[in-house]
Symmetry: C2
Subunit: 158 residues, 2 copies
């Protein structure tokens, strides 16, 4: 049984890191369009995108935000984390086929309320910084090792 586990506030150390990678496919951009409602043709229409400064379809900026949030919720601190805040700077476009890696690093712990601050750097396969930011979370107090739900099965198109 695949499991999902967390790091409790007490287990977390300053400087602790985690990485979470994902290849961005056309399918991801279509799913993000469907769930957000952002159907801008720069994301969905290759002919239109070719007329823009980007030359080809780019992922929605906030798709990188979604993947940062998954890195936090799945890896560090993991299940039971309460998401308090996130800042994001969108530095470079993410193109279809790019492999992006979210690098998290713990920079601060505040004992009293269990707050943890993490630097969030998203790099592409060429080691270019595409998104940077800072997350603030309330880390879990209790250790959790739970069954890992499977990814919902989704089909695109009729």
């Amino acid at each position: 049984m695949p499991t999902l586990s967390n790091y409790t506030f007490d287990e977390i150390t300053i400087g602790q890191t985690a990485t979470y990678s994902k290849r961005i496919e056309e399918r991801d951009v279509q799913l993000f369009a469907a769930v957000s409602g952002d159907v801008n043709p720069v994301h969905l229409d290759a002919a239109f995108a070719a007329t823009t400064q980007f030359k080809s379809c780019i992922a929605h900026g906030m798709l990188s935000g979604a993947i940062i949030s998954a890195a936090i919720a799945m890896e560090l601190p993991g299940p039971g984390t309460i998401y308090l805040g996130q800042s994001l700077r969108f530095r470079l476009p993410v193109k279809l086929g790019d492999i992006i890696s979210v690098n998290l690093e713990v920079t601060e712990k505040k004992d009293k309320r269990g707050f943890v601050t993490l630097d969030c750097n998203v790099l592409n396969q060429d080691d270019e910084l595409v998104v940077t930011g800072t997350a603030e979370v309330m880390a879990p107090r209790e250790k959790l090792v739970i069954e890992r739900p499977s990814l919902p099965s989704v089909r695109i198109g009729d």
Copy 2:
């Protein structure tokens, strides 16, 4: 033909507002799990969620971020906008069935590079602030009125 249009930097005024609403369904949370990879059971498993402080399944925090980004890209300034940055504070959970409204308000314009700052407030159907934040964008210089792509058709489950 349904169209999509934008506000150019010159057309945008301080104090200008836009609203974008969406009912958050179980389907949206499943799609967000699929696209981000965050399959935490607090979002997907009602029995597990019942054991948490939230008592029932809650949406991923960053789903509200995705909807803010869609409000900016679809409504104000709309197509052609370059997303530069976003801050987010997650204040209250969003539950399945909640209707959330993103309220955008232009608070600053910087002529030289076409930068525009927008306050972003997300309210639920009870007028409670669930997410707040600030967006920084580069507004389009050119007026666009383009064909509105339809929402990708997506099916969940086998």
